[in-house]
């Protein structure tokens, strides 16, 4: 049986920073599609024996959040607007993203989740008369951590390293 799309939840931390408590906000309202493009680095070589070797060296994941309608009451919108207003770069445009498998885990208090840092790249801001829009791209940084997410308390707990 197919997994419903809404069971793969994507959240972004609207209050990044070591001294801040994360505010996990789920994206997806008005988004008909959200894909994390893996951008794999693949090298293919063929030898004189007719064999092909494939080296998968790594990934450069990236995702596009478009459309994104700004809601001034949300922490994520405030973060995005600060990046726009201050033309923030480097670590000042960094936050965390969470992928929560709502179909996996014992209950809503303990869903399997993966956290990763990402850079927010503002694509544009403004938009048409339907609302103020700030579409952006997420560039994942590869420091992926597995853990569990509590849907009720909106908190992520990393798994203990063995």
């Amino acid at each position: 049986m197919k997994t419903e799309r809404k069971l793969m939840a994507h959240l972004i931390n609207g209050t990044p920073g070591a001294d801040q408590t994360p505010t996990w906000e789920r994206i997806g309202a008005d988004l008909e599609e959200f894909n994390i493009e893996m951008n794999a680095e693949v090298e293919t070589t063929a030898n004189i024996l007719g064999e092909t070797s494939v080296k998968l060296a790594g990934y450069q994941p990236q995702a596009s959040v478009e459309p994104y309608y700004a809601d001034p009451d949300t922490a994520l919108s405030k973060l995005v607007q600060r990046i726009v207003d201050g033309r923030k770069m480097l670590d000042e445009a960094k936050t965390d993203v969470l992928e929560v498998h709502l179909w996996e885990g014992d209950s809503d208090s303990s869903r399997v989740a993966y956290k990763e840092s990402a850079i927010i790249e503002i694509v544009s801001y403004g938009g048409d008369t339907t609302g103020y829009q700030v579409p952006f791209n997420l560039h994942y940084l590869g420091d992926r951590v597995k853990g569990t997410y509590n849907v009720t308390t909106k908190t992520f707990t990393p798994d203990l390293e063995v």
Partner: protein, 145 residues
């Protein structure tokens, strides 16, 4: 209230229409009725929220003895179109999807084909005008958390 019940209430607030009947407008002057003609899914987002389109036809019986009266009737239909454009959006709606009652709201209401629709054998009692109304509404299925 579902979208049909909600639109009945929205139309009832328009001061130049009488009581809004359901489906059947009798032949008496100022008789008005709203008919639901269909509902469809326009699109859904990755949270499962839906944007839907519901279409209606409004029939109303008005006097039509002269061009002046007919111009007036068309003017009322135009005013109704403006009224719906301004007052329908953000009105609360509920929908039952897969056995679950979900909340939502009207996004927009657009009118078209407002015109004289039927002329009875004698125009003394009035003629039937129609107005087609297309209502776009959003339903939130609770996947936002």
């Amino acid at each position: 209230m579902n979208i049909i019940e909600t639109m009945h209430e929205v139309l009832a607030a328009f001061p130049k229409l009488g009581e809004i009947g359901v489906d059947l407008a009798d032949e008496s002057p100022d008789s008005t009725a709203l008919t639901s003609t269909g509902d469809s899914l326009v699109r859904s987002d990755i949270l499962g929220n839906q944007r839907r389109l519901h279409t209606f036809i409004l029939h109303t019986v008005w006097q039509s003895q002269s061009d002046w009266e007919r111009m007036n009737n068309s003017g009322v239909l135009l005013e109704l179109a403006y009224f719906l454009e301004r007052h329908a959006p953000h009105t609360a709606v509920t929908a039952e999807l897969n056995g679950v009652t979900c909340d939502g709201e009207i996004v927009s209401a657009e009118c078209s084909n407002g015109m004289l629709y039927a002329i009875p054998d004698t125009v003394n009692g009035g003629v039937v005008y129609q107005l087609q109304i297309a209502v776009t509404y959003q339903i939130l299925t609770g996947g936002n958390s």
